[in-house]
């Protein structure tokens, strides 16, 4: 018996080691490119492109960060993105909640019909141009609201929230408050919303990430006005990339300019990615629950 125990202990120990090694390799593959960008943002671009900065910065410099703060495009893009993210998140999460709550009431007359009404839009849509034409006809092109209103209700997330209302908020509480004379609206704001904090925080993060990272909607509808950060970065990252890294051989003032252009790439990527990377770990523990709630179709 003792021998058997020890043998099993050994095999569990070796498998533990194997699992940790595999996970560490995966961890490295995922994290290293991000780490490399951070290191490169503090390094002399010539050293980076000569392959001297695999682990630590080489030719340490803060010029890139200075360039970011002096670059008007990036600053205004950043501020635009903050504005769109804040307003967009309030709007989207509000829409989710005011849709999901009525849809969670099983005895609401017409609930089935409304359900189908929303679900259809998940599978079928007008497509790019017909939607663009409606946005144009409603005079939203060039306005910030073109980023929010056409999105309407995010039906997939609405279903997750609706299922959360149905499964995780005790029905007795709602009944009790209605017997005490609370209207349906007051029950919603005073009982349901405060009790749904876990799913609320997940939805807020999802929505923030979506608005912060979105640039396609802005590309189509904003027409170059109030450009958000990712679209500003397109000019820095994509359009100039063909020539800039090749210019590493040229010396003089042009080379200095190119150095800054390259540094700006690394630093702007960090500015664009960092805010969301700092936020999601706080709600990470709710992700699994949220997804499970959504998977159970009510």
């Amino acid at each position: 018996m003792k021998n058997y125990d020890r043998a099993r202990g050994m095999s569990d120990k070796t498998s533990d080691i194997v699992l940790v090694v595999i996970c560490s390799i995966v961890l490295l593959i995922v994290a290293y490119p991000l780490y490399y960008v951070v290191v490169a943002s503090f390094s002399d671009p010539y050293e980076v492109y000569a392959g001297k900065t695999f682990l630590l910065p080489s030719g340490f410099t803060l010029d890139g960060d200075k360039a970011v703060f002096l670059n008007e495009g990036i600053i205004s893009g950043f501020l635009n993105s903050v504005l769109y993210t804040v307003i967009g998140t309030v709007f989207s999460v509000g829409m989710l909640y005011i849709t999901a709550y009525p849809m969670a009431q099983k005895d609401l007359p017409g609930r089935k019909l409304l359900s189908i009404f929303f679900l259809i839009t998940m599978y079928f849509g007008g497509g790019l141009v017909p939607t663009y034409l409606v946005v144009k006809q409603t005079h939203l092109v060039g306005s910030m609201w073109s980023l929010f209103l056409p999105g309407g209700v995010a039906v997939g997330n609405m279903i997750i929230v609706r299922n959360y209302f149905q499964n995780s908020i005790p029905h007795e509480l709602i009944e009790a408050s209605e017997i005490d004379g609370c209207s349906k609206l007051r029950t919603f704001f005073n009982i349901v919303v405060p009790l749904s904090k876990p799913i609320l925080s997940v939805m807020v993060v999802f929505s923030m990430v979506a608005y912060w990272n979105d640039w396609f909607t802005a590309l189509i509808y904003l027409g170059g006005k109030g450009t958000p950060l990712p679209l500003v970065m397109r000019n820095i990252l994509i359009k100039s990339s063909a020539t800039a890294s090749q210019a590493a051989t040229i010396s003089g003032g042009y080379a200095e300019l190119n150095k800054l252009t390259e540094l700006l790439k690394f630093c702007s990527m960090i500015i664009a990615a960092l805010p969301m990377l700092m936020i999601y770990p706080f709600v990470q523990k709710y992700f699994e629950k949220g997804f499970m709630a959504g998977a159970v179709k009510g």
């Binding site: 699992l19 490119p33 980076v48 141009v129 939607t131 034409l133 309407g152 990272n213 890294s245 699994e288």
Partner: protein, 321 residues
């Protein structure tokens, strides 16, 4: 479906009045009045959905017309299938359809199994802190914008001083090689979203009865055997469901990443329908033509979805119940 449709009006109106039992004897009108606040909440979402989702569906008819903004949807001349014929006879049509299907087919084949394998491994980790770290790091790329991802790819794949060329000691310009495009697209997609794809599987595995593992341990089952006989059967229904859902979106190649990674030289493999729809519709303002191409894409998708749904309902009879 049929049954519930017949049951609803009966409950509310005639039957309810006759028996007086369901819903405290209230008729349909009273119940609607009782809930007026809930309908008021729904007002804005419903109106926005009608304007920005349903009116564009009505607008699809411009695919069959020669749309002129001054004449409106119904005033523009009816041209039947003219735009579709033009698309099918355009020189790059075949290439775009093939590229769209191949990119998503290969994406599906590669990126479907990896989250399953990853979550089986992560689930067996016994050091809670390490496990949490692994999860946090693996989720990270999902929260980064496509724009940043493509910027990183452009830098890493650059022929002069790009990370990949530095590691391999070469100077290949990967983004100008048509043969490399799909690999770049799919590999970066896996890097970005494989970790995120684990969540649903990890949540499923978290619900496995711990008694099963205990029993297996007492019987002397190794980690590998536990994965094989407990975890995999537990994940199978969810995995099949995910596969089916993904198969339904086979013509849905995202616009963003392809557009940002496309160069003149890799177009042989990177030319896809979504980018064409954008270029024709928004850049060249060929509204009717672009709508027709987009509609073709949507119809193929819907057909795939219906086929897949049929298979799913059949599979669910066998697998899930």
């Amino acid at each position: 479906m049929e049954k519930t449709k017949r049951a609803v009006p009966a409950r509310g109106s005639a039957a309810a009045r006759r028996t007086g039992v369901p819903f405290g004897g209230k008729n349909l009108w009273q119940r609607i009045l009782d809930n007026w606040q809930l309908y008021a909440l729904l007002l804005i979402p419903v109106v926005l959905t009608i304007i920005y989702k349903y009116i564009p569906m009505y607008g699809i008819q411009i695919a069959f017309r020669d749309f002129k903004a001054s004449r409106g949807y119904t005033g523009s001349e009816w041209v039947g299938l003219y735009w579709f014929k033009r698309f099918f006879s355009s020189p790059t049509c075949g290439r775009m359809i093939v590229n769209t299907v191949l990119i998503s087919l290969y994406s599906l084949l590669w990126s479907f199994p990896i989250p399953i394998i990853l979550s089986l491994i992560i689930n067996q980790l016994r050091f809670t802190r390490f496990k949490r770290t692994v999860q946090t790091v693996l989720y990270a790329p999902h929260f980064i914008s496509t724009m940043v991802i493509c910027g990183m790819l452009r830098i890493f794949l650059s022929p002069s001083g790009g990370l990949l060329n530095l590691i391999m000691g070469t100077s290949v310009d990967f983004l100008t090689e048509a043969s490399a495009f799909r690999t770049i697209y799919i590999a970066s997609g896996i890097w970005q979203d494989a970790g995120w794809g684990c969540i649903i599987y990890l949540a499923t595995l978290a619900n496995v009865d711990p008694g099963l593992y205990e029993a297996a341990k007492i019987d002397g089952a190794s980690v590998f055997q536990r994965i094989l006989h407990i975890d995999i059967p537990e994940l199978l229904p969810m995995a099949i469901l995910n596969l089916i859902m993904a198969a339904g979106g086979l013509m849905n190649v995202g616009f963003e990443k392809v557009w940002l990674l496309q160069t003149d030289l890799n177009k042989a493999t990177s030319d896809v329908i979504a980018v064409y729809v954008y270029q024709q519709g928004i850049e060249h303002a060929k509204y009717s033509y672009s709508t027709a191409v987009g509609l073709f894409n949507t119809v193929v998708n819907i057909v795939l979805l219906l086929i897949v749904n049929k298979i799913a309902s059949k599979a669910s009879d066998v697998e899930f119940v």
